[in-house]
Symmetry: C2
């Protein structure tokens, strides 16, 4: 038995495209509808109450289009809105936090029996405590150090990626992590992979960087054998992009986050 | 005849507090209600259609509270939403663009018969063409050079003000203006006064910086003799702060934008 319906995936804006990119490559017969809430981006500076409200509206928009599953490709939305979403709908919902934590925990177990994990994210994601909570569920002996990096999102969105000023900002922002003897660092925001090379340079080769997009592809793989029914193996992949603000800037920025697959078509929706 | 009612003033977030600060000092007997649309900040990266919709909702919220006039203390909202606002309500509405243009034009006239004016602002403000249009109305011989500086808002909001990395970003962003032989530079975003000293350093002492907050105080002075009836001279000033997202972060950031007057009380509203 197969289910040809698309999988819904959403983010506050363009960041989730790094996750979509991984899913599209890994599941070439699955179709996806991506929704970027570009009229209200960013979520990472906003409160749980507001993010919850936005997430429910975005999910409803995708559910009305008949998706068979929902991927929350935004750490802030996952950290603050996932429980509300689970309560709100029957469709399977995958957040981006647990897969990232599982990848980090697996990595740690390979290196040592316990370990020290850093988590960087938006102010709201860090304040939510979602990462330490889920890491402790997996391995209560992992020591977690969290740090908000609020400037990384605007830098990534504006394409300031390999500039000496960016290196200085990244260095100064990450300074509190430098003497923490970390084994791994979770990039707890879907924008951060854009800055991955400068973050890796600053942190040094000893520290493994965990990027949630490939972890999310693993997770969706597990779901597609279980609560989400896979598409027919020969189905041609369809991609649809929805945004809540006009599409021009989305298209321009999308090019920095996803290769090849964007630009099929982008449509505007009101929430 | 006096009118004791407050004046409404709004911005996408905290930036408009630089304008409120000027108005509160200049009109100590007038009361103000400030609304920061912190649930949907920033406006400067969003489209005209979306900003118009937000601006009307914000204005309605203030009008329902019985304000006698509306000050749009946000360049993007003024550039993109002012015509819609004028069509929408009978209450006098003041934008922040015209006063800044008038201040720049006056300054230019003192220096030379014609002149060259730079305008920096958000991407949306620059794209709107509102500054060149209003400057031309005042003096069609003024040559205008506009430049979007999208990273300045996050830098100001995060308090990155006097750091070498900020100096580098400001230098590189403003580079296209350096050989333009400008007489004046309009800070066309209410966040930018926070970065005024580094902008002044980079531009050099020859170029006069125009900050719209004092220009807005001039403009409101004119209106208070005319279409807006002033408060009784002995009225005790009341300040009220409304935000659309929770207040904690607003209070924290407000301290960087306004001195002494903030913190009376901040209340949350849904739009």
């Amino acid at each position: 038995m197969y289910d040809a319906r698309p999988i819904g995936i959403f983010d506050s804006g363009v960041g989730g495209l790094t996750v979509l990119d991984a899913l599209v490559r890994r599941f070439p017969n699955e179709s996806f509808i991506y929704l970027g809430d570009t009229a209200r981006v960013p979520y990472g500076t906003k409160s749980a109450r507001t993010v919850e409200r936005y997430v429910i509206q975005v999910a409803d928009c995708l559910l009305h289009r008949g998706v068979k599953g929902l991927v929350v490709a935004c750490n802030t939305a996952s950290a603050l809105g996932l429980s509300a979403l689970h309560a709100h709908c029957q469709t399977p919902v995958l957040g981006v936090i647990e897969p990232g934590c599982r990848a980090a925990a697996t990595l740690i177990t390979k290196r040592a029996d316990s370990g020290r994990v850093g988590v960087i994210g938006t102010r709201s994601t860090v304040a939510s405590g979602a990462y330490p909570y889920h890491l402790a569920l997996l391995n209560p002996r992992i020591h977690v150090v969290s740090l908000a990096c609020p400037l990384f999102v605007p830098l990534a969105e504006e394409g300031w990626v390999d500039h000496p000023a960016v290196r200085m900002i990244v260095e100064e922002t990450l300074a509190p992590l430098m003497d923490q003897r970390l084994d791994a660092l979770i990039l707890g925001c879907t924008h951060y992979p854009v800055l991955k090379s400068v973050i890796a340079e600053v942190m040094g080769p000893e520290i493994a960087l965990v990027d949630s997009s490939s972890a999310m592809a693993e997770e969706l793989g597990r779901y597609l054998g279980g609560v989400i029914v896979p598409a027919p193996p020969d189905q041609e992949q369809q991609l649809e992009f929805l945004v809540t603000d006009v599409a021009d800037r989305f298209k321009e920025m999308a090019a920095r986050f996803i290769e090849g697959v964007a630009g099929e078509w982008v449509k505007m929706v009101d929430l």
